[in-house]
Symmetry: C2
Amino acid sequence: MSEAASAPAGPATVGDSEFDRDTAVTRRAPGVYDIDLSAGWTVLGAVNGGYLLAVLGRALADALPHPDPFSITAHYLTASRPGPAVVRTEAVRTGRTLSTGQASLLQYDDEGNEVERIRVLASYGDLDALPDDVRTTAKPPALPPLERCFGPQDGPSPVDGGSAIADRLMIKLDPDTLGWALGQPSGKGEMRAWFGLADGRDADPLSLLLAVDALPPTAFEMGLSGWVPTVELTVHVRCRPAPGPLRVAVTTRNLAGGFLEEDAEVWDSADRLVAQSRQLARVRLS
Amino acid sequence: MSEAASAPAGPATVGDSEFDRDTAVTRRAPGVYDIDLSAGWTVLGAVNGGYLLAVLGRALADALPHPDPFSITAHYLTASRPGPAVVRTEAVRTGRTLSTGQASLLQYDDEGNEVERIRVLASYGDLDALPDDVRTTAKPPALPPLERCFGPQDGPSPVDGGSAIADRLMIKLDPDTLGWALGQPSGKGEMRAWFGLADGRDADPLSLLLAVDALPPTAFEMGLSGWVPTVELTVHVRCRPAPGPLRVAVTTRNLAGGFLEEDAEVWDSADRLVAQSRQLARVRLS
């Protein structure tokens, strides 16, 4: 077989990439989907919440008449594990411009009983049908050029590279929000990074659900360590992202009573604010 | 009957006020509640979304083992009308610290069929059980003293007083965000006000759900008029509010594609950030 006949060496594409294969759901019955949750999107054994949201978002995109999640909220109930799972969806209301749906991700305990992992409520629309007016006053985050930011692959392991998901993401952190990795957290609840998929697949509305929950916790820059489990995550997808790397800025303003919020903004290469998210997370003070 | 035996003339209290009476739900069966939606909380005939969220929040507080909404998300499906309604709840998961529940508000069409108005997903906890650490970096909004702010009752009707809800709320807008009422909107997506209930009832977690959706739309200050219907509203209640008036600051950063987000912060008299909310709303450009 000649070299010319082998697979092209170019970047992965939307629809033909590891992210697409690992979020693919199989319709078992109307509104019911099977999936094998991949171990490739875990952080220290825990399946990443953004990857899980993308799985649920994909099932809802199939179950509802509109393709794109305009607003999607997930409550994380129990820890998901790699392996078989079922997504059960319900079309709550179907409208002309928006449809609202609900979904549950379930797995099985040792006795084979269903255990609910995540409950989702979402409204879907068609991003391509929106008018192209933009009156935003928001400004893109001030990030150094990508080549002056740092990821797990750079230098003497400044960022924990022990997570499977790290091999699948292109995350380059702003040095100004990397102090925690050097033992000198800034004390500010900020985390900024360039973001993409490691195989070069461009962003789409589903991968934005991953982008908002992929950076290290802002709590690290506030001098805290340990697990920051998400209670609830809401994402607004506002625009179809242009090709090229994304910029993600995450901010925490209120750490109190053992909880914090993380607000994320995602900007595309055309300087459009393509997604806004907020999550409520628990934090163990240390 | 002597004057001494008549009702005390002091302010209304939590549990004995118009807001409490108008959000009271009656349990018909386990998890199912009846309510008569009051016409007193309407804006030009439409029932206020924050009042409706408080009704749903109250039903969930009864249905779940924890009392306070830590994170509550509502998707507004169809327009609610004053009159009879049913709330159906489901306890999704009950944990030690948090419980997750779902609720639907339903009314009836002319043929007596149930029509779903609102679908809610929420996690509840106990605010009084939280540790009292505060490491917030957020600052309270800079608002002039209450007596230098303006409401519907002040002056030559600077704010539309034609809504029933205006009689039940104490809203005093910062003059800096009142330009729209004088035909001179600032162009900035900001709205700030002192907030309370007109009968003097102090705030509690349920009335915070009302506070985040009670100010005029930020779109007014961006020079737009008309209806700004909420698609989705998420509220995080972070702290039990201290007695006294609240300060509410609402900000819009991204108006694009016919949608905008409204972020609200609610601060209490003790300078604690007691609630954070975000809603996605549709806007008709004019």
